[in-house]
């Protein structure tokens, strides 16, 4: 890889495909994930969950369970103080503490099948299992509602009698299941559609899907008599876990120490707390460490997923293809408590395009399902799938190449985004061009094969970040970051540190520190960790360089302008160069004590300037007309990374996001029975793509530098899951001539549609 220069320092490691520092532990089984931690004397905790989707909890009798030998603690709603209504950021979405305390442990009502109603800690898993069966819960079963649209109807079963729709003036006098109505407006919609030669309006439905991380939630907690607490858990944000746990258990934040284990996938689903407060409460009662691990069934029934939704999109275009007006109505399932990702869904819907007149309205709707959690670009894949489908139909009706149509309307630097502000430098056009240049775009297709293209957008964020760099006695560097590393963060941050300080990559040891070792870090989410972390490292390295230059000046009796730091050493300039030899970081390390003490820097920032990220996906698939089964044949992802700190792990984000999107589009869904119970709470019937379901995923790394970042970095983690749904739906239309408006496009649905058109013959 060619050497490039940013901010005057030569880069040798950034942009190369280094072996990740945490890699060896992960290929040898040594890496410790959530369930791999144990403490002497630990108890095993287990949760008793509601079998009913909606029921008033009349009484809970735990006496029989407490009497069982080996049971050391039982907790219920009575063990958690109620919380006032107050919104806080729960990972990538807002959540209300009043709801958080009710979600971790049901209070007045159980609001979904799998809702925690009690928990036990016992000397073995077997005893805990038996104890749960001995807890007597009296339920008054209530009528339930699963579908969001049904939940919006008057007379639908009401989940919360104190929930009044926000965003409607005047404030409704009756409670409902609609928590929030949000709108964005731009220009004059009526006037806009007047200018349209072609107007297309369609309604789309998507099913709720789970993040599907392979590692179930796990937590190990211990609380001592003086109220100091320690937690080891699998999370995307241990500082957030600390904040939530301290709040729910009434502990001082400073007394709670949380260590993030290696995390076995999160995708947004590990940004909230489930087991951690329960393990702490049990440990507090039992005075012993308590370990809790969810089963896969619990993961499906009581964590995640993201919203299912109904989306109506209307777009108007002139006959030469200019988009003149667009409206959308989004109804997102929030699950049992308000807080679906409908807000970002609303803001992202038309973000890739330059449209003068836009109106989008969204509804946040509760129903008897698990509370949704963030999932990779929360809310965006749903609304953008609907829009990309309509865009594809416009291209077809106007007989314009779908890439050219997107290019003609693409947002570019200076375009006023549908959600308000103007875009800075962005790479949508570049990704469209990149896709058009691929051999894939022009490859021939056979009968029953189809090709689809779609673009996608995600904001990306920065946020509070604290990173420390310490130069050790031998000149090696310890890097401590506070955002859990899910997909190669340590490799990226170590590369930046190596370049900033001019030390070899393998002399930098990056670790993820616990909450006691750094200032507050917001969680790994919003595609922020490499973006913000690398900014903080630049800041920390700056401090070290300044310190070393100052020490050199003292040692050489020189003035600041007579020295400079470059390529890993402080160098004397001009005349001074005759008397003094450059001093490397290792040289300083050896005399650190003599020259003022330990050498290090701490980057403490609230990272701003996150660069929006755009991607365009291209997919070929083949449909078996006799069974309705679609096979993905070929896939290409082009996305703007700004600057790829570690190209292999950026590609990995693109490929992983694309395949998650394939699952969302074709087979994944939460299936409920009339009884309101989840019927496919396992990997067998919740059908995530397996290795034989997908082809190689080709990637094109587009790099339109983000001017607000020292290396030009943009977040890359979330955008890759946005385009697949639309691209695959468009490919299905291209293969069959049928526009599918409901996800997943599973074989029974596809075959039914083919039959209705009399196409179900090979």
């Amino acid at each position: 890889m060619a050497e490039t220069t940013t901010n005057g320092h030569a880069q040798s490691v950034v942009g190369t495909r280094t072996v990740r520092p945490d890699g060896v532990d992960k290929v040898t089984g040594r890496a410790r994930f959530g369930a791999d931690f144990n403490l002497p004397g630990q108890l095993i905790g287990r949760v008793l969950r509601s079998p009913h989707p909606h029921a008033r909890i009349v009484s809970i009798d735990t006496s029989k369970a407490e009497a069982l030998p080996g049971v050391k603690a039982v907790i219920t709603r009575a063990d958690f103080a109620d919380q006032p209504s107050e919104f806080i950021p729960a990972g990538e979405m807002m959540m209300n503490y009043k709801d958080v305390v009710r979600n971790v442990m049901a209070r007045e009502k159980a609001l979904y099948e799998g809702h925690a109603v009690a928990a036990v800690a016992a000397t073995s898993a077997a005893v805990a299992r038996r104890a749960c069966k001995l807890i007597d819960v009296q339920y008054e079963v209530l009528p339930h509602v699963i579908d969001a649209v049904e939940a919006m109807q008057p007379g639908a079963p009401l989940l919360h009698d104190d929930l009044f729709t926000v965003g409607v003036e005047p404030r409704p006098d009756k409670p409902s299941n609609v928590a929030k109505k949000i709108e964005i407006k731009q220009g004059d919609i009526e006037a806009g559609f007047q200018k349209a030669d072609l107007v297309i309006e369609r309604e789309f439905k998507t099913a709720p899907v789970h993040q599907g991380y392979i590692e179930p939630h796990a937590a190990l907690a211990t609380v001592s008599e003086d109220g100091t607490a320690e937690v080891w858990c699998s999370t995307q944000g241990h500082f957030i876990v600390r904040a939530h746990c301290a709040r729910l258990l009434g502990l001082d934040i400073g007394k709670v120490r949380v260590t993030a284990s290696e995390i076995g996938g999160g995708f947004g689903g590990k940004t909230v707390v489930y087991l951690e407060p329960l393990a702490l409460a049990l440990s507090k009662k039992a005075k012993r460490p308590v370990k809790m691990v969810m089963s896969r069934e619990e993961v499906f029934k009581a964590s995640g997923p993201t919203s299912g939704a109904t989306v109506r999109v209307k777009m108007g275009a002139t006959k030469d293809g200019k988009f003149v007006a667009a409206t959308a109505e989004l109804k997102y399932q929030a699950g049992a408590f308000q807080g679906s990702p409908v807000q970002p869904g609303v803001m992202c819907a038309f973000a890739p395009y330059d449209i003068e007149h836009v109106y989008v309205v969204g509804y946040d709707v509760v129903s008897n399902r698990p509370k949704v959690a963030a999932y990779r670009a929360p809310g965006a894949p749903i609304s953008e799938y609907a829009v990309e489908s309509v865009v594809d139909e416009i291209a077809k009706k106007l007989d314009i190449d779908p890439i050219d149509l997107r290019m003609q309307n693409a947002a570019r630097e200076g375009t006023k985004a549908a959600y308000g502000p103007k875009f800075g430098p962005i790479g949508l056009e570049e990704t469209l061009n990149a896709v058009k240049k691929t051999e894939h775009w022009n490859a021939p297709l056979r009968k029953w094969q189809g090709r689809g293209v779609a673009s996608g957008f995600w904001f990306n964020i920065g946020g509070e970040t604290c990173v420390s760099l310490t130069v050790n006695e031998d000149g090696t560097v310890s890097l401590v970051a506070g955002t859990p590393d899910i997909g190669g963060l340590r490799a990226s941050l170590a590369a930046v540190a190596a370049d900033e300080l001019g030390v070899p990559f393998d002399k930098v040891r990056p670790i993820i520190g616990d909450t006691g070792s750094l200032g507050f870090n917001f969680l790994t989410g919003g595609s922020r960790s490499a973006f913000s972390g690398s900014m903080a490292i630049v800041e920390a390295a700056k401090q070290i360089k300044a310190d070393l230059c100052a020490r050199a000046c003292k040692m050489w009796e020189a003035k600041p302008e007579q020295v400079e730091f470059s390529d890993g050493a402080v160098r004397p300039l001009g005349a001074l160069a005759e008397k003094a030899k450059p001093m490397t970081i290792a040289d300083f390390a050896r005399v650190a004590g003599k020259t003022g003490g330990p050498i290090g820097g701490v980057g403490r920032i609230n990272a701003q300037g996150a660069g929006p990220s755009f991607g365009t996906h291209l997919v070929d698939l083949e449909v078996d007309p006799e069974t309705g089964r679609a096979t993905i044949l070929r896939y290409t992802v082009a996305q703007d990374a700004g600057r790829a700190l570690h190209p292999a792990y950026v590609e990995g984000q693109y490929q992983g996001g694309a395949v998650q999107g394939i699952g969302w589009a074709l087979n994944e869904e939460y299936i409920y029975g009339a009884d309101g119970k989840l019927q496919n709470a396992g990997f067998l019937d919740y059908r995530m793509p397996v290795a034989s379901d997908v082809p190689m995923i080709d990637t094109v790394l587009v790099e339109v530098a983000n001017p607000k970042h020292p290396y030009g970095v943009r977040g890359v983690g979330e955008t890759p899951i946005v385009p697949p749904l639309g691209a695959i739906a468009n490919a299905m239309e291209n293969a069959t001539g049928i526009r599918f408006t409901e996800l997943p496009m599973s074989p029974p649905k596809v075959l039914k549609a083919l039959k209705e058109k009399g196409l179900n013959k090979a």
């Binding site: 949000i182 904040a243 609230n606």
Partner: protein
């Protein structure tokens, strides 16, 4: 005078007014002036609001400077960028 635009539901707290001309030099001043005009909006500005100054989005950053010719948008925070704990 900086041009200030409210995006989304905030306008409901200003009786529907979505655009202002305000002479402010920082986000902090902007919030103070808006709160004087519309006390109801204050609580919402404390948290959950992002500010876009000339196209660049800032997630709760009170001290960002605003130039006289700046175009400022107040929008909901994206992806929980808020850092209140």
């Amino acid at each position: 005078m900086a041009r200030v635009v409210l995006v989304g539901n905030l306008a409901q707290l200003t009786g529907g007014v979505t655009e202002f001309e305000l002479s402010v030099t920082s986000v902090k001043q902007l919030f103070e002036q808006l709160t004087e005009l519309y006390p109801a909006i204050g609580r919402h500005l404390d948290d959950g609001i992002a500010v876009a100054i000339d196209g660049q989005i800032y997630q709760d950053s009170l001290l960002e400077p605003i130039r006289p010719d700046s175009e400022v948008f107040l929008l909901p925070q994206i992806a929980g960028g808020s850092t209140s704990r």
